[in-house]
Symmetry: C2
Subunit: 463 residues, 2 copies
């Protein structure tokens, strides 16, 4: 009996080999498409399904690509040739909400926003907020250690994960972590698995920390600067002034032009028509207004034309400008969203480096940044010629420009990826960032969890 | 040439074999004393010293026990027979304070409080605050993932560590992590090494996150309850009311009696003379007073006799009561400080379990808790008979009572150790908490970092 027959005989109707389905599971939101054809898709709805799949994969030495909602941006969950795509999207139960202990227990396929919808009645929320939160799974958020807009103030996903249930390569079940605020018994496998991109095990359940909704109102500032470097310096000055906004987002002039076109005259009222950069600052909590007023002083001193609003509608309008960024770019072609992060004080230099690369190569690089984190998303828009497949590979000249950008970020003390993960798209730069000693150790750690190399092979490390 | 001669010839005067010195390095603040005699103490003052020591240890297969200030409470840094005690206390430089990026780079031997002293002029602080912060090293704080009084609000040590420099068993240097708020390139070795108790490598340098000093005043509540379970329920009710104090400390009646005796009539004015439990609640930040007033209502509804003070002197007086706990017990004998942690909603049950064990065994167990975290420190006081060595082993009946206590904590969904670490004192219960699958994986991870088993052997895992 081969692997496919065994999957079908043990797991029945949750196994599919429909060609359209297989094809759809070869890609994610990065636009990357894996070559070849997966063996099958297993749509698990129970932990037993996941364990059975891994046992069979181990027996037949078949690669397993774990997949949640498929919203990844690094090609980390794309069904490769001959692999089993193990979907955990159907593991979608919220098992427990425990307001007294400020924790929740969820299956891996629970959508981030669904948990937040269930928490709000308890005056609680789950802080990790990737831009995809309306559609991405908590398992995927954990597998990539997802970031988002609120990290400088509210932390990254790792800080919200207390414990995990993980199916290991041989199908056995590992439980990590605890339900307590503190716990230091043994190594922190919870943190090691967070951000491991499906290469160490399959996360099936998580115990996550939830927190009290922030009391008080929200204050929002929209500020326009002549140049993106001025805006970047202003945002760094806010951090340096010991102000900690909940949100601080920066849009460069090229991106802002596209957003203005996309939103039309009404939606973009007040935005500079060309040449300006936009900085959005939002403060929350009991001192929101006082913090915003302090931020206003800093922004104006840094040359910004800044206005403060405390009514929700104005705040939403400003956030809508930020949210329009990706839809605006997607109208122009396939978008490769990059994800470098630099120390906040170096952000202006990173923007200057991007501008220099863009000018020299002639490739526009519209960029948005989570400025409070120093996390930039430079975008490459690939306009497809008529008749060209939408999923054609990213052209070499764009990878060459991205390569220069990664090197610039590393030279500034930064990192290749702030929140999207290494996946397949950045593995060729992994050694440049972490070095030989770390790479060698990490490969050995992978081998402990996955001695046969069946868990998402080719992801993070070159095969 | 043997290992000692090689150490002496390569490292000279930083190697000592003075018998008194060797003896002093066999113990830590837990009172545990390792058997036998260490081979030598190496007092490293540079990373090169650490690398040379590890190279020699590898060549001669000699165990290395890394040690900072020796303030550990689990016997995790005690020089064992024939081992090299590698002191990193002399790696005491603050290398960088970077206010713009809200980070600092320190050598492992920097005292926690010294960093805070250096940060205050920048309006910054380092949040990890173990009770030993005035005397413990940041390297030791990281090696144990130390907790403290402020964790529910400000996080544990892991959340403050951005990157590490670590000397591996063979003497090579590993760098982990980043200087950015976000960074997900590769596995999170920084988190894996945090809390690894010297068993995976020797931390020589850390890049740590520092944060803006909390603005505003501090409000302090002292509340007296008839019983410790009432006080525990009240503290859980504060969490459940979505109030997040900076500090919430609970002292049980037995401990409180000892504190009152120790402080004398003046210092203990207002404390119940017998039978009451004391809960200290401190709020900070811009809404400190409003939060304290909300807490006051909860505490009174829960049966507490509570008073609020906003002047610093009264707050300090209340904190002094908490701080007097250990000095008060140390006057009575050798103190074994335990460290279980339970979900906050189960704290009252844990206190009840401790009372039951105490009543049945006849062993007093004065207990204090970081109540906001559900982290209890039950204490066993071992009164030494005249002529008995102060470092005699903990009597079997006390370990039997501790064993029951650990099992009670695990049964309540808790953990063996919230913040002190496994060390040598709790390794026999490690499997009970983490299970066979995790234990097996953790031993394999250890073997990746330390194939010869020379890094703190016998710590965390039984040899």
């Amino acid at each position: 009996m081969n692997a496919l027959l065994r999957l079908q005989s043990e797991l029945g109707a949750i196994v599919t080999v429909d060609p359209l389905d297989l094809a759809a599971n070869r890609t994610d939101k990065s636009g990357w498409v894996a070559g070849g054809t997966p063996l099958a898709i297993v749509r698990a709805t129970t932990v037993d399904h996941v364990q059975a799949t891994l046992r069979i994969a181990t027996e037949f030495r078949v690669p397993v690509v774990t997949r949640g909602a498929g919203t990844g941006l690094s090609g980390g969950a794309c069904g490769t040739d001959g692999s089993i795509v193990l979907s955990v999207a159907g593991l979608s139960r919220i098992i427990e909400i425990n307001p007294d202990d400020e924790l929740a227990v969820v299956e891996a396929g629970v959508i981030n926003q669904h948990l937040n919808d269930a928490l709000v009645d308890h005056n609680l929320w789950f802080a990790p907020d990737p831009a995809s939160k309306a559609i991405s799974t908590i398992g995927g958020n954990i597998a990539t250690n997802a970031g988002g807009l609120l990290c400088a103030k509210y932390g990254v996903t790792r800080e919200a994960v207390l414990g995990l249930s993980v199916v290991l390569a041989d199908g056995s079940l590992l439980r990590t972590g605890h339900r307590t605020v503190k716990g230091v018994t043994g190594y922190d496998l919870t943190a090691l698995l967070t951000g491991s991109e499906g290469t160490l095990g399959v996360i099936v359940e998580a115990t996550v920390r939830v927190r009290a909704l922030t009391p008080g109102t929200v204050a929002t500032i929209g500020a326009v600067f002549d140049t993106v470097t001025a805006a970047a310096r202003a945002s760094a000055a806010i951090t340096a002034a010991r102000i900690r906004p909940a949100v601080m987002e920066l849009i460069d002039p090229i991106a802002l032009g596209h957003v203005a076109t996309y939103l039309g005259p009404e939606g973009s009222a007040g935005l500079p028509l060309r040449g300006g950069a936009f900085l959005l600052v939002q403060t929350d909590g009991p001192a929101a207004l006082a913090e915003a007023e302090a931020a206003l002083i800093v922004l104006r001193a840094a040359g910004g034309e800044a206005t403060l609003s405390t009514d929700a509608a104005s705040g939403d309008r400003l956030l809508a400008i930020r949210r329009a960024m990706h839809p605006a770019l997607e109208q122009l072609g396939q978008v490769l969203i990059e994800d470098v992060s630099v120390p906040r004080s170096r952000m202006a230099e990173m923007f200057a480096a991007i501008a220099e690369i863009s000018a020299r190569t002639g490739i526009p690089i519209p960029t948005v940044a989570h400025a409070g984190d120093g996390n930039l998303h430079p975008n490459f828009v690939i306009a497809r010629r008529r008749g060209e497949a939408a999923d054609a590979p990213v052209p070499d000249n764009i990878w060459a420009a991205a390569d220069e950008m990664f090197r610039a970020a590393l030279a500034l003390g930064g990192t290749l990826t702030g929140e999207h993960g290494v996946g397949v798209l950045k593995r060729r730069w992994l050694r440049d960032e972490i070095g030989d000693t770390s790479l060698d150790l990490q490969r050995q750690l992978k081998a402990v969890f996955d001695p046969l190399g069946i868990l998402n092979p080719g992801i993070m490390f070159a095969a």
